[in-house]
Symmetry: C2
Amino acid sequence: VNPSPVPDAAERPSSELAADLAAIVGPDHVLTEPSVIAGYETDWTGRFQGTALLVVRPRSAEEVGAVLRACGARGGGVVPQGGNTGLVGGATPYGHVVLSTTRLDELGPVDEVVAEVEVGAGATLEAVQAHVAPNALTTGVDIAARGSATIGGMVATDAGGTRTVRHGTMRSQLVGIEAVLADGRLVRHDPRADADAGGVHLPSLLAGSEGTLGIVTRVRLRLVPRWRFRAVALVAFEDLASACAAIPRLRRSLPDLEAIEFVDQAGLALVSAHAGMAAPFRAAPAASVLVETAADRPVLDELVAALDGLPGLHDAVAADDGPDRTRLWSYRERVTEAIAAVGVPHKLDVGLPPATIPAFVAALGPAVVAAGPEARLVVFGHLAAGNLHVNVLGVDPASEQVDDVILQLVLAHGGSIGAEHGIGRAKARWLSRARSPGELAVQVAIKRALDPGGLLNPGVLDPGVAPAHDHRPGPDGR
Amino acid sequence: VNPSPVPDAAERPSSELAADLAAIVGPDHVLTEPSVIAGYETDWTGRFQGTALLVVRPRSAEEVGAVLRACGARGGGVVPQGGNTGLVGGATPYGHVVLSTTRLDELGPVDEVVAEVEVGAGATLEAVQAHVAPNALTTGVDIAARGSATIGGMVATDAGGTRTVRHGTMRSQLVGIEAVLADGRLVRHDPRADADAGGVHLPSLLAGSEGTLGIVTRVRLRLVPRWRFRAVALVAFEDLASACAAIPRLRRSLPDLEAIEFVDQAGLALVSAHAGMAAPFRAAPAASVLVETAADRPVLDELVAALDGLPGLHDAVAADDGPDRTRLWSYRERVTEAIAAVGVPHKLDVGLPPATIPAFVAALGPAVVAAGPEARLVVFGHLAAGNLHVNVLGVDPASEQVDDVILQLVLAHGGSIGAEHGIGRAKARWLSRARSPGELAVQVAIKRALDPGGLLNPGVLDPGVAPAHDHRPGPDGR
């Protein structure tokens, strides 16, 4: 069910629109051949599977503007798409035009004085990281999908990742932004000074807007040092409550803290078996927590000292930068593939206030047992941000019952239904329970003010919408 | 000249409105007596002097809503006012109702687990700092006007201060927010988890909106550690370019960096004479820079090591926490009073990209000489954020010529006309030159969507408005 009545692709006079768009971007960049556009029609999970009227690939903000004007003149929706690594159906077309941003991939010169770089929205995170690495800089946000995820998509979803404890989400990385509104108008916030208060802050407005307010075409990013030294510790806590209680202490004692990541007992067992690695601890702990620091001076001693005397700490293994660090990170980073090797999971990306994380995770057990005799729970995630990835294996992938039960638990524990992956289509129908009515009214008012015709990404972030997707779950990589 | 035709206070049937409002907030909290409301009619600089129809002081968000509905029904504008410490005429009434937020001063319990506190918008910064101090916490933003400035006003102006290099501006401190829109509707963003992406982020939208989109009634603030150890150094650089070049190096080598502040040669001489303190250096340096670090471990050695070998560094005096630290900070903190003791300055709060700061300051000299034979320039500010406070003494306070010349120079050097003090009425007419047309169009569209009648703070942040104020400059404390 889509919010605006978009006819099926087959019913549309798409050849006329295709001709108009070809005149703007060139015929090579309007894709209509079904086998070619198939990759744009399914999201990364495989769960959201739609149909594209066509795919258009503009090369400049001006072309984006002309494309939107042409599409707006004919009605129907436009779905912006970057690397298509999203997990909530936020870039999947349902009879819409797909506007692919991947050709907007320019990489500007690195400004070393302020540690900033201006890049096209279609540049991948990995390309930007490689581009700035010679300056001993990197991006403040890092995610596993860096090879495909585009900067524009990461802005639109306000992406998080492992480093948010130090640098915040994408919203905090934005110094300047350029975007095209639904009516084709170019809007820019030019970076001036860090100190520049007064009025609506365009980068903050567009971060997290999931392509519904404008199409991001270019951003100026704050960069962070690429540190010379790293130290990591895998820590066994006797329970999750002790792990959560350690967060504020670690934040305070480690000025160079870069990550606090969590893997539960089931996750640690799965990854050890899958990767053929010895279990890191003799007794499998209820909560394994990976703590990393990074600086331009050796930091291992500081890290070890900070762990000393933490209540509930059973055991810890620490390592400098090098192969040992890679091995310790594997226990966290390879959980996703270990889960995928076992089966197709239900996967929920949620946020919890630190105080309720232990109670929430404890409540998950009975909820998952109720989902069926073969149901198995694996929880991991970015503990410092309260960002948990809840995975349920052994439950019919087509059923939404366990998802609904888990999201209900999230709300009951004061949590957020969309943490770092956003709302998209998948969670739109939950919005009205997850946000206050006034807050949603403001969002709807701003959407109407900037996109009165509802051209951009119909159905996404729309509290009035039921999810529009086929139920064909597939592998999911976070 | 005001944007909406607001009759003079004398012509309004204010007694009827006063009676309606008294029924909402109680008769003691509707002020109409001229001698009582005089303090609400003039801003802190004395430069903006208006007239209030009346002053209403609600005690709850519900009362704020009822007040706005009553005012909206009668037309005319409502000017929200906190501690009235602003410097750009952003809270000065011109025949409007003043809605004073100072009774919304509740202080909620400190949440130690996440280091957050929920407070009323009318609480002063100092009251919040005192409230959380027993938990060894403090606010991420600190400003000199802490004794009067309210949290709500600081959110509305997206206040900065000395610590932004470490913690960012007020926008970065907001976890949750509650506000009342022009139509009286309450809107809330409830803090859930740190990870909570998807849709318009209400705290980011209202930060910097200067009371034009809604009246902030309550916020949930991120708190920061109240560190046990501090170290400060006053550093003499041979020129401003060397000082600016040192910023990225200091950021990188000092993980606990809390401030990089600047005072020019004239400022250092003024403050030494005014405070009766010996000059800190034998030869007066072109640029004196105060660098501070703070942590839960002694940091003086790290600070001294970080200064070692900085190009252009002539001399430095460093101190631990204690009386020596206070004395070194005096060279920066007492510049404002030293200036005020000499005369009434023209004062401009501007932001510059680090790369153009030296050229901008060099260009100020000739511009100030042209302003008159007695004109004297003093520049200081938050160097790490590129936030400079430009002061010109010895020029007719009623003239705006030197201000215009300086703001023109700011724009020519890629800077921002409103840094940490905002735009208000003072700089509204500069908006169309300082921001891109598309960006202003978005701001106007959002204003119309949320306040179609233009009830809230008319004339403020309005690009179509000429400044409406008397020219009666007075002392200014930042």
